[in-house]
Symmetry: C2
Subunit: 409 residues, 2 copies
């Protein structure tokens, strides 16, 4: 059994790095805060006797040898970057649950047949750099490490430069090796487990995700002397379009989601009619065909707006950013997680994840499963994100047993 | 007569400071670019033999003595700060037309009875710091210099700190002295003069202006696992509200204007449901009663949204930012501008200004008039803002003659 209070203490220690006034975390990928977080956790992993290696994308692997080190490793982990107003558990829990598993194995002097690893993936959140789930995506060959290294944030700073600056540009190649299995423990980030008073979700797969950028171009002009009928107001068109887009998931409940999370206005000055608006669209659904239909509807809405009717003189452009199809996890590992929950008498249910996770990409190249625990009010990507120590402990116990069974073939 | 090509050359020299790729200017108030612009123009004024003084708000006064220096000065000027994507003429023209007038008077060895001054007002644009028209507003006693010095930009940096940093925190008190008259030459920033092929607008007064901030507060949550019906999406409410607000001027054409120029989303991350949106509202009208009615309608629209109906769980707050009532200029000076245009055979018409100007505040404490010249396509607050050398020259000639007549009582 894991030590729940040690796990909690590690979570609270990490939460001090990039702590925000409202009790959350701002540790954006590859910032100084991310560096401090990495240094802290890598130090703990090293103190636990693990051997640390860093790949060219800054993914950190901490290895615990087995009896047979030719076997592919049984891996667990997640990420420690956060949203701009993120919480203390999203990602961090998966990494520190892995650390706790290693600590328990050491205490119990257990050596497994296969080696084990704890991984910290780079830039899972995708709020500073896209693609989202960057480290795991490149590891799984979904895009090249070069494409990831070339990504730039809104200030034009690249992943490559930031990795070098914070000292996490490693020399190990990205991916190209076999993982025996991948487990990821995570908070649910939704309301289901809490509502049903369950401690654990056995995750069978994930919603597909489709990301776009929309660029609305009008013409900036002075707010005072420009008569209403001469205006080409990009904000007016963008607001009408967002209102339409946000209704697009209605026919596809309960698994349809649509969000416009980023919305930037240029030049964004009080007395200037906006000349341009850029906003993002995030579509999700469990069924591949429905996700495609939602994408099609988005295209139609943008075309209906582009220089048409009221929007004469306003251009609307739709750009594809990233697409991850709905992804089922490995039935054998999912069953193993479920069986561990049964054996430990932890109340649980099957569920899908609405959030993308590193596990979603890794499932393309290795048998994968996830373990969810409830979070308070189902809220995450929010400074007030919270979770109960006993639930985090329950999830980590399942992780421990599922990993042990998998590492003893 | 002024030297039109010398005036043009000065405009182009100043436009090199903070030049933008598309041929415009970004010289936000109290930035390093503003400092460079001030240094350049103050140097020219000094080289013209004028005596430079700077007040506590960074307003720069360049004085040309008269025969009777007990008479209140005849003043002209404008501002040299710009919008984030501003043009080369807005403000700059009024300051450099004043410089050109002084240069001509020197060349012709003319001494006037009353002294003359050229003024550069601090932060007219209001895009970095509010109140807008800050220097002239404080000079006219519309708010205290202390309130202006305490204003902060979006990064929390104050006017006082920036003035000190760029070396323009002078020791002269702000306002409290009598101006004999104030003239301001400016581009029209609207389409009328160009459409009617006129060279000069005789400005009889200005639209009233009423500025607000709207804060829409929902709750941020994860875009993936949060079902649509649980969301409290601040962007959804803000977009619907902006769509309604932007129709609010329709019944009040042609003098009604409504603009939402600033619009900021928090946390502004692709996979986070927006928890908060802040946006600005700019209302304008020529009639005090209609402006009041528009303000009333804005209040109603915000109340209709606040936690009502579809917007349960979303708070809408309306904050007053600044208000300038419709302002008529001094009939005697307006008539003098009109007479000079007649005398110089420059095609002209009377008009009101839709933009606020330093002249609007100064008209509260001194007889004031403005001279407009056309700008290409009526576009300003845009990098492609443009004007014709011959029109700029015509306006400066009227300024020269109107100032000369006023300084010889
Ligand atoms: N778990 C998580 O926050 N992932 C980020 C990717 C997504 O938006 O689903
Ligand atoms: N002329 C000018 O751009 N003034 C700024 C104040 C306003 O928004 O009218």
């Amino acid at each position: 059994r894991v030590d729940g209070s040690r796990l909690w203490a590690s979570l609270m220690d990490l939460a001090r790095v990039g702590a925000t006034p409202k009790g959350g975390n701002c540790r954006l990928a590859l910032t100084d805060e991310d560096r401090q977080g990495r240094d802290l956790v890598a130090g703990w992993l090293r103190d636990t006797g693990l051997d640390i290696r860093v790949d060219r994308l800054g993914n950190i692997f901490a290895r615990r040898p087995g009896r047979n080190n030719d076997l592919p490793p049984v891996v667990t982990g997640s990420h420690i970057d956060t949203q701009p107003t993120g919480g203390r558990f999203d990602g961090n829990y998966g990494v520190l649950a892995g650390l706790e598993v290693m600590r328990v194995l050491n205490e119990q002097s257990i050596t497994t047949e296969a080696p084990m690893e704890v991984v910290i993936w780079t830039n899972e959140e995708g709020s500073r750099f896209v693609p989202v789930m960057m480290g795991s995506g490149a590891f799984a060959g979904m895009f090249t490490p070069e494409a990831a290294l070339a990504a730039r944030d809104h200030d034009g700073i690249s992943v490559a430069d930031e990795l070098t600056r914070i000292g996490y540009a490693g020399d190990m190649p990205v991916g190209g090796r076999t993982l025996g299995a991948y487990f990821e423990a995570h908070i649910e980030q939704g309301p289901v487990l809490e509502k049903e008073q369950l401690q654990v979700g056995v995750v069978t797969g994930s919603l597909g995700l489709s990301w776009f950028d929309v660029v609305v171009t009008g013409q900036e002009a002075h707010a005072g002397p420009t008569p209403m009928e001469y205006r080409r107001d990009a904000l007016q068109t963008a607001c009408a379009l967002v209102s339409d887009i946000l209704t697009l998931a209605e026919p596809h409940a309960p698994h349809g989601r649509v969000t416009c999370g980023e919305f930037r206005v240029f030049p964004n000055s009080r007395n200037v009619i906006p000349g341009r608006v850029n906003f993002s669209v995030d579509l999700r659904h469990l069924e591949p065909a429905v996700l495609t239909a939602m994408e099609q509807r988005l295209r139609e809405l943008c075309e209906l707006c582009d220089t048409q009717g009221n929007n004469a003189g306003i251009e609307v452009e739709l750009l594809e950013v990233q697409r991850i199809p709905p992804t089922p996890f490995a039935p054998k590992l999912v069953e193993r997680v479920r069986a561990c929950a049964e054996a430990l008498a932890i109340p649980h249910r099957d569920m899908v994840t609405g959030a993308g996770h590193d596990a979603v990409y890794i499932s393309r190249v290795a048998p994968t499963a996830m373990i969810f625990v409830p979070c308070v009010d189902g809220i995450s990507h929010n400074e007030c994100e919270d979770a109960k120590p006993e639930d985090l402990e329950a999830g980590a116990n399942i992780l421990l047993h599922a990993m042990l069974q998998t590492a003893e073939p």
